[in-house]
Structure formats: C-alpha cells, structure tokens
C-alpha cells in the first residue's frame, strides 16, 4: 500500500479527532507548565485545516504541506503556531518538485525538524515538542525505505511515545515552561504530547487501511 496525498483529509481529521478526545488532558498539561492555551491554539488551527482538507487533498504533497504550513502559521498563534507552521512550510519546500516516496518523506521530515530547531533556537532535551519530533525524525531516517509499512508505523508510534514520555523528567529551558525552573520537572510537555498524539492518530489511520 502507498500513502498518497489524497488521504490528507482523513489524516487531518484523525489528528483533529485525537486532539478533541484528549483536550482536557493536554490542556491540563499546558496549564501546569504554561498558560493553558495549547489545545485551543492547536484545535483552532486544525479546525481550519479540516475546513480546507478537501482542497488540500487535491494537491500534491509539497503544495499540500506548504498550504498546511501557511494555515498553521496564521491560525494557530502562540509558540506552537509559528513552530508547526515553520515545520510544514519547510516540509513543503524540501519536497518541492520531488516525487514523495518514503525516503523523500523522511528527508522532508528531517528538514522540517531542522527548520523548527532554527526557528525555536532549541534542540533535543529542552522539554518541547522537539523531544517527540527529533527521535521521530531519526527513526524515519533509519527506517524509511527499509522497514515495511506495518512495522514502520508500529515503530513510529513507539518512538513518538517514548519521546513524549522523555519530557517528564526534563528541566524546561525553552518556551513558557522554562519560567518554572526546577518546578517544570515531573510533568510532560504539552507540545510533546500533542505532537505525539497526532503522529499516533495518523499512524493508526494508515494502519486501519492495511
């Protein structure tokens, strides 16, 4: 089976549904370490993506990611809006003019993570969404084009979850939670959790088609 960009409507819906389902839980995380608006922001953006999802599904991967990036950039707001917007715009740029196969996808994903790091002046271990995304990027580099889709997806979910969980013991040094200093230790980062949830929901949607 091949994952094609006309599945994007479905994948966006999956991301949107999982954020709705985990709204209270993730909001609580951002209330504990931040200002409580992360889910509202993400869901505002996802709401617009869902509205545009038919249109997005008509585009090729690169254009779809660019469009998604622009929507995230202008509709989410906050730290996560600029970061996720930057992420998708960078994916689109990296994939532009290419036929997206698993390897190209992994490259684009890595380029997007690099763009996010540059935008956020941040890296692994700072208790942010990057602690989900960096391990995922590495995993994709290692496995895309080598591992069969079912195993790839299973490993992807596992990697995302491990990344997310790793933020619990971290001392935040980026974003709002850094203001709490030592008091940030012991809680999972909201952005790490939301990105993990969306990655897993997307993986599961694809798995259901296998």
């Amino acid at each position: 089976m091949q994952v094609t960009s006309d599945m994007l409507a479905e994948l966006i819906k999956a991301a949107s549904d999982t954020m709705a389902e985990h709204d209270a839980e993730v909001t609580e995380l951002d209330k504990t370490l931040g200002d409580g608006d992360h889910v509202i922001n993400i869901r505002r953006g996802l709401g617009f993506l869902v509205e545009q999802s038919e249109e997005i599904s008509q585009l090729d991967w690169a254009d779809a990611w660019k469009k998604m990036g622009m929507t995230c950039m202008s509709k989410i707001g906050g730290a996560s809006g600029s970061l996720i917007g930057t992420f998708f715009v960078a994916m689109g740029k990296d994939a532009a003019g290419k036929t997206v196969d698993p390897v190209v996808f992994a490259q684009a994903f890595n380029a997007a993570v690099e763009a996010m790091k540059a935008r956020g002046k941040s890296d692994a271990g700072e208790k942010t969404m990057l602690d989900t995304l960096i391990p995922v990027a590495n995993y994709l580099t290692e496995n895309c084009g080598k591992t069969e889709l079912p195993a790839l997806l299973a490993g992807l979910k596992e990697t995302a979850i491990k990344g997310m969980e790793s933020t619990k013991v971290m001392h935040a040094t980026r974003g709002r939670s850094s203001f709490l200093g030592e008091r940030s230790v012991g809680h999972i980062d909201a952005g790490a959790r939301s990105t993990q949830l969306m990655i897993c929901a997307i993986a599961e949607t694809i798995e259901a088609k296998l």
């Binding site: 707001g77 600029s82 970061l83 200093g181």
Partner: protein
C-alpha cells in the same frame, strides 16, 4: 466562570470592535487579519512603531496606538501571540521608507511570530525585545519575560519616532530603555482565561504568588501573604539588585494593576514603593499608577522602574494622544 460574553469564541473579536468604536477619533480596526492603526495617516518619513501580543492585557497594546506612541498594534487571541500575517498586513498598511520598529515582549511565541512577519516584509526593520521581568535571572535560558515595562519602551520609542529619529536611533533608544527597565509582579489570585473557564491555578487564603508574569501562570515562588510593606520590599529589592540605582538617580516608577486589584491598593503599593526608594536617596522623577498591562481578572500588581536621564525624561514627557495615555495634546 462568570464573564460577560455571547460566545467565548467571539468574545475577543466582538470586543475589539468596541475598542475601535470607542476610540474612533484615534484609531481604526482592520478585522481580518486583525490589526489596529492610527486614523491620522503616518507621515511618509517617520519610522513606524508596531507592537502586539496576545489579548487579555488591555489596554496594552491597542490602547497605546496614536500620536507619539504606536502606529499599529496586532492583537492575538487571549494570551496567544498574534500571527505573522497580522504583522505583515499591519506593516504594509502603515510602513514607510524610514522603516519599521517592532516592540516585542520576550516570549517564544511573540518572538517567533514577529520574526516571521518581519522576514516576510520588505521594509527595513528592527526589533526591540522587552525582557524586564527580574523575577527570572538575567541568564535565564530564554531570557526574561516582557511585562509592564513594555509600555515604557513603547512610549519612549514612540516619542523618538514622532520626533523624527531614524530607525537606528529608535532601535538604540528602545534597547537602552529596555535595558534600563526592571519589573516584578505579585498575584493574590490567578485569572480565568475565558476559553478555559476556570482559574489557571489556585492559592490558599493566606498565600501569594511572587514573581508572576502576565498570563495567569504560576510565578517564581508561592509565599505566605505578607503585609504591603513586606511585599513592596521583596519586589523593590529584586528591582534594585538588577538596576542598582545610585543615590540621586532619577527614576520612573510605574505601579501596574493586574486586573482585579482596586486603585486603593495600587496607590498604597505606590506610596510604599516611593518610600522605599526615597529612603535610599533615589528620586521618583516621574510616575504612573493604574491598569496598563493587565492579566485579565488577576488580583495583583507589578512594580516597574526605569532609570531616567534628561533624554528619557524628554521622551516620556513628549505629547502622546492614545486611548489610554494622553498628555501634552
């Protein structure tokens, strides 16, 4: 949660229309992408001053759009930084060849969104980052938060720009004011973000949260509620340790109400802060007391000090005609 609204989703968007109507002699609203500009057109050769940030801190920033201060403000949703398209549209609406100076509170979201906005705009531009919250150490990993000192940077850069200073000069003044300004806040309650429906945190009847920002989040330390004099001493010492004003130093002292704390208490804090610095030979040359940088309905205050010299006093005293700061015209 008890608030006045029709729907939570539209509270901000409806409210900002009210701001525009109430102050139609001074400012006008572009609803989407959302930004506020002066009604009077900006002179072609004037550096343009743009600020913005999440809503919920009113009157910051829209209340400071007008002659002698901001040319445009970009409000985000409540406590959420505005998005780059707003900054781009605002810059396109008011920008001049003399350039754009962005005044940005130091939060990851604000910094990144303003940065993207500036990158996508063609005007020459500079940014002044306000990071005045001394409850965090100077070498904090992300730098300090920007809080009530922002208003002072906006006023002085606004005055410089109005006087015809060029972009580099505006930037230098902005950085100098930002570096000469220190703030710290204390809360007696958190606030209730409309979309969340309940207070972000809770405190016991005998507790206060020291070193809070302006987003209803926890501060640096939960402490036993002290007397007003004790509270002022803690905050003033933190500011003193940072700015190290000498005997004879002239300062601007700004006591800012965070939302639910009445003027009576704000002026008490102001009086005690005056005493604190006067006892140390510091001269309260200018002052400002009131709700200027709020955190919705948080009960609390912040104290801000800016070290003054003749130039900065001149910029502070310069005429300003905005919805919420007005003098000299």
């Amino acid at each position: 949660m008890k608030k006045f609204y029709n729907t939570i989703e539209n509270l901000f968007n409806e409210s900002i229309k009210g701001v525009a109507k109430a102050h139609q002699d001074i400012l006008k609203l572009n609803p989407d992408p959302c930004y506020i500009t002066r009604v009077a057109p900006t002179p072609k050769n004037k550096v343009v001053v743009i600020s913005g940030g999440g809503a919920g801190h009113e009157p910051l920033h829209a209340g400071f759009v007008g002659k002698g201060m901001l040319d445009a403000a970009c409000p985000g949703q409540t406590f959420t930084s505005p998005t780059p398209d707003q900054m781009m549209a605002a810059a396109e609406a008011v920008g001049t060849e003399a350039g754009v100076i962005y005044i940005v509170k130091n939060y990851a979201g604000d910094i990144m969104n303003f940065e993207i906005g500036a990158e996508m705009t063609d005007f020459p531009s500079e940014s002044v980052i306000v990071a005045d919250d001394v409850s965090l150490p100077k070498d904090h990993s992300t730098g300090r938060r920007g809080v009530a000192g922002t208003l002072i940077v906006e006023k002085m850069v606004g005055a410089a720009a109005e006087n015809g200073a060029d972009l580099a000069t505006c930037k230098a003044i902005g950085d100098r004011v930002a570096n000469s300004t220190a703030s710290m806040g204390v809360a007696l309650t958190s606030c209730t973000i409309p979309a969340l429906g309940e207070p972000t945190f809770t405190l016991a009847e005998d507790e206060m949260e020291m070193g809070v920002g302006i987003h209803g989040e926890r501060g640096i330390k939960t402490m036993k509620l002290g007397t007003a004099t004790e509270i002022v001493a803690i905050i003033a010492k933190a500011i003193d340790d940072d700015l190290k004003p000498q005997k004879g130093q002239r300062i601007l002292l700004h006591v800012n109400g965070l939302g639910a704390t009445p003027p009576m208490e704000q002026y008490l804090i102001f009086d005690l802060a005056c005493q604190y610095w006067e006892e140390r030979g510091v001269i309260i040359e200018r002052s400002l007391v009131g709700e200027y940088t709020t955190a919705l309905d948080m009960a609390g205050v912040s104290i801000t000090v800016t070290l003054l010299d003749d130039e900065l006093i001149g910029l502070w005293d310069a005429p300003v005609h905005t919805a919420n700061l007005r003098w000299g015209c």
